[in-house]
Symmetry: C2
């Protein structure tokens, strides 16, 4: 058995669930957040850091690793776990998202996608069969079907893309050879409720050990994302894990957990950290600001992360101003720890039956940055090297 | 007492010495190498990394910290140890070397040096009194006198600079207020034996708790460096530590220890690491090379560092090719560990009476890269941000 999901508890007043996913590389306590290790490293962290901040599952990007160092190199080095020194569960995406956001000159057909590498312009083809094979070479515990990521507001494009995504899902299933990896289907359909319903029903019909919800990470307003979760999640089987791809803002994690999502991944905490934006329960602070020049306090009082236990805001500000490498690491440790501690608090609240109150209290203190489509698209264009 | 030096053993067949320096922040077992933390961080490492690789003493640069974040900020944050989270011994230089290599538009007079910041062009003055005061604000365990770093082959310049350096040393001594810091004098004199002798004798006459040997780190051939050590070291009191500034190539560490030097600092291991050049006992390897693409071996078999214990050459090559931040950290851990392990081996060999054999064996396997003055000057010009 590649993966076993145990539903431990469902909240009375919301759809929040407490669960555990057992994988060949250990358990994932859900709801869980997976830091993103695009190129076989969560940027600026080593595997010991990841363990210390409480990570159980990490994500790596098939597109990037296929291009560099090559899936065959990773396989020859003993697979992704051994290659990157991370012995816990790993999830790889299918590469679809990057092909549709990052690669150049892509040509989509029913067979697959021909694209040019963003690194050197070389031409490559991804088919449902090839991305399964690549992910089998990488060796993650959870792998994903190839999907076509359409612009979420374009009805006609979403209809056409969905047909392909569904056909590809069946072909991915058929292509799977290894029996120690769990292949997830990906629900698509943009911001269209009927397409989301159709997608969920089709994929559930195929029968996967878990279901992802794609296409909600960038480019659409938060209310649309929440609406699509309201439509999609109830159609997914209670006994399988549900994974919302590419979402990691604290308020979105709370709202999605409340709607029954179990797994998340996002570059947000790591990317923000490298840009000196640090999470606190009262909102983000930009540690470069002059107000922190002589501030002896940690980023957040009471935080248990290595950074907050040992260093002041004044020191972190100095490291960022002086462009020191350590700045990225200490900031990343804090931001990832922050989200993983938030997930832990959510799990505790679900178990205690106080999730609703926890969510309301958190959101009352945390100022939500309004989601702006143009800002999201700018971010998407900037994200040249990671999902 | 700011510092106590205990001479434990002197080698029979060389001038190599085993000793211990006790500081307010713990012991330094000599001969010792100090990694360089220019801007209050050894680039890419945190204090726990430093402890793990076996560092006891680290160096920080007065010039850099004076300019950013400012010695008053560091003092207000509780001093350098607390600011950077390093609780072991720290040495700060006087800033002289950077003023003469890095700053712009400098004007030297007998009173001190007026210079412009390499960061923002602002004008500043260092006097013997002010650099002592700045170092008292920073709060290192070992602090240095202001010296004038002359071009080592220019006789006339070295004569004039030496007169100033000597006068400044006396003024630094008189300016010292804190009694928990050890102020070292710096022997200068370029490659001129009589000037070196004159300098050593003058400074020993003033009476310092330790003596540095400056001006031998860049720009001169190795034989000249060794000759100057042969001239200088015998004139320094056996009961005080001797510190060769800015030297860190493995062969130079061995040759200088053989001549009776106790302390070293150098950016070499950290800077090489960031450029993918990794130490092994068979010489440096450039981990970017294609030959390492599928190499499952660690950087060096048998190495006890975190990097070699967990990661392959193939993975390190991938991190460097993919420009990942983790590359710098893992490579730096290895290179610093390599030099500190070499120092540990030297101490063991001195204690066992086998230093000569150890040195010969090491040097027979380690290919020495000939020191080229133009290359050294190129490196010096490139070192825009660190000693």
């Amino acid at each position: 058995m590649s993966l076993e999901f145990t539903l431990l508890h469902t909240d009375d007043r919301s759809n929040a669930r407490l669960g555990r996913i057992d994988t060949p590389h250990g358990p994932i306590h859900t709801p869980a957040f997976a830091p993103v290790g695009t190129q076989a490293t969560v940027k600026a962290l080593d595997p010991r850091d990841l363990q210390e901040v409480g990570a159980e599952l990490i994500l790596a990007n098939t597109y990037h690793l296929y291009l560099r160092p090559g899936a065959d190199v990773v396989a020859e080095m003993g697979g992704l776990h051994r290659f990157m020194g991370w012995r816990g569960p790993i999830l790889t995406d299918s590469g679809g998202f990057q092909v549709f956001s990052l690669a150049e000159n892509r040509i989509v057909s029913d067979d697959g996608v021909v694209f040019r590498s963003h690194i050197d312009g070389s031409q490559h083809t991804f088919t449902p069969e090839s991305v399964v094979q690549i992910q089998e070479q990488l060796g993650a515990d959870i792998i994903m079907c190839l999907d076509e990521c359409a612009e979420p507001h374009d009805r006609a494009y979403n209809e056409a893309a969905l047909a392909r995504t569904h056909a590809w899902a069946a072909r991915c299933q058929a292509a799977q050879r290894r029996d120690d990896q769990a292949l997830f289907g990906i629900v698509q359909g943009g911001i269209f409720a009927d397409l989301r319903r159709q997608s969920a029903e089709f994929l559930v019909g195929l029968g996967f050990p878990g279901y992802a919800i794609g296409g909600l990470s960038v480019g659409e307003r938060k209310p649309d994302m929440y609406d699509m979760l309201d439509v999609t999640v109830p159609l997914l089987p209670a006994g399988k894990p549900r994974y919302l791809m590419g979402v990691g803002a604290p308020e979105d994690l709370l709202e999605a957990v409340a709607r029954g999502v179990d797994l998340f991944d996002c570059v947000l905490p790591t990317r923000l950290a490298r840009n000196a934006a640090l999470f606190t329960r009262q909102g983000r602070l930009n540690i470069r600001n002059a107000q922190f020049e002589r501030d002896p306090a940690p980023i957040e009082a009471g935080c248990g992360c290595y950074t907050c236990q040992h260093f002041s805001r004044a020191y972190l500000r100095h490291l960022f101003k002086a462009k020191e490498i350590l700045a990225a690491r200490l900031a990343t440790i804090h931001n990832v720890h922050f989200l993983l501690a938030l997930m832990g608090d959510m799990r505790q609240a679900i178990e205690a039956g106080t999730f609703d109150a926890f969510k309301a209290e958190f959101l009352s203190a945390y100022p939500i940055i309004p989601h702006d489509i143009r800002a999201a698209n700018r971010e998407r264009r900037k994200s040249q090297s990671s999902r």
